[in-house]
Amino acid sequence: MKQLSVDHLTGIVDLSTQDIELILETAQRFKEVINRPIKKVPSLRDITIANVFFENSTRTKLSFELAQKRLSADIVNFSASNSSLKKGETLVDTINNILAMKVDMVVLRHPNPGAAKFLSEKVNAKVINAGDGTHEHPTQALLDAFSIQEKLGSIKGKKVVIVGDILHSRVALSNIYCLQKLGAEVMVCGPSTLIPKYIDQLGVKVSHNLRTALEWCDVANMLRIQLERQDGAYFPTLREYAMQFGLDKNMLDSLSKEIVIMHPGPINRGVEISSDVADSKQSIILDQVENGVAIRMAVIYLLAGRIER
């Protein structure tokens, strides 16, 4: 019988195409479950999961919590603001203390790239990466792939452009890996200061012109400008960025074909995407959020199946 080839989900880079397809297929079943009158299944009632967030998050944390609750897992939440990290404890010690209370799985968000991978090598629990700095955000990439597949029928051969702050985006990197493994073509688009120097080594196309990029693609994933991660001036003003790389309705309507608009959230309306585009028929932003719960249920379910009794 099919199962995942990994014990942890630290990054899309470690997953095989079969793994990704298995997750998407399982998520399909869970999407059906969360649309039932009773949206809960008892599969994981003997599993305890800790959500450990060293960085702020609304949607990802909520989405993971809902996914865990709908699988009947017990959960504990832990966030940096009230942690003993401030008292000088290391990450591994913090997690081992949580695990000593018999926790089977850890969902980790951390500002340092590689934190999830590091943790998965140090502790005796399944680790799911919910974002590690500017590195990876695998469940976001999986839910993006799921949403594209749902909207367009398949991913193979589709053209996806990721627009915006590629340099500081973990969503971009995970999406590139995920979409390429599923056979899509990927382009990144943004000001040259926000595009990593050797990104073409990953096999992606690079464009600095939004219109060219949009004319090329089937799907546009508009990223937020991550001001909180930017340590210098990457562009003169937000207004100038919005004029060159912000997507508005005029631009969208003037394209030669109808493209799908995605956004991982949170949206800065009027910056990378205008209000009428975010709310338009072509936007699948809220479908992405719904699918996020199904994807996370699938990932947790498949990893939980690998916990030894």
């Binding site: 019988m1 099919k2 399982t26 079943r29 479950v33 009158p37 994981l44 379910y301 199946g305």
Partner: protein
């Protein structure tokens, strides 16, 4: 592994016809009744019965497929995770009379999970169980069928397989007897 035919195509057809008539005795014209086949193998029994019932009654009968994977009691007790099949119940089961359908009734654990899964779609007025092959005296749970195609006495080491023309190329029910030292799936 030795195999023995319990029902051949003709016998299977007779049994399905009889079960259909028994269902009509209880459910009359199926106005408030729904057939629900359990994934993966019960759905074929349900599809056949639906076809026969529709040709007798001359009206369409509501039916659905139910996957029970997430409600099973052996998750994490197996080597690999249990993978789900499709559920398509796009109607409410509230106050309906449900006929739950599976091909083989053995330990009763699948049916227990099926009942739990079914209740997540609402509160039915009644649930009945229809089984094509009842491996009697082998229950782990207090579950019995309301409609039975055929009762068979089997050992735990044996296996019953229902094969369909659409999938295996032939309608028949087989009994496989394994060597005694081979551990059965229990």
């Amino acid at each position: 592994m030795e195999k023995q035919v319990i029902l051949n195509a003709t016998q299977l057809e007779l049994t399905l016809n009889r079960l259909s008539h028994q269902l009509i005795e209880t459910h009359e014209n199926f106005e408030n009744s729904i057939l629900i086949g359990l994934q993966p193998r019960g759905i074929h029994v349900a599809t056949r019965l639906k076809k026969i019932l529709e040709s007798i009654l001359g009206r369409e009968i509501q039916a659905g497929n139910l996957d029970i994977t997430f409600h099973r009691d052996d998750f994490r007790r197996r080597e690999t995770p249990l993978l789900p099949s499709v559920t398509n119940i796009d109607f409410s089961v509230e106050n309906k009379r449900i006929i739950l359908i599976d091909d083989v009734l053995f330990t009763g654990r699948t049916i227990r999970a099926g009942l739990d899964a079914l209740l997540t779609f609402g509160r039915p007025a009644q649930v009945q169980l229809l089984i094509l092959i009842d491996r009697r005296f082998s229950r782990d749970l207090p579950i019995q069928a309301d409609f039975v195609g055929k009762k068979v006495d089997t050992l735990f080491t044996e296996r019953v397989a229902v094969e369909w023309n659409e999938i295996e190329g032939q309608d028949r029910v087989l009994l496989f007897s394994k060597e005694a030292n081979e551990t059965a799936q229990r």
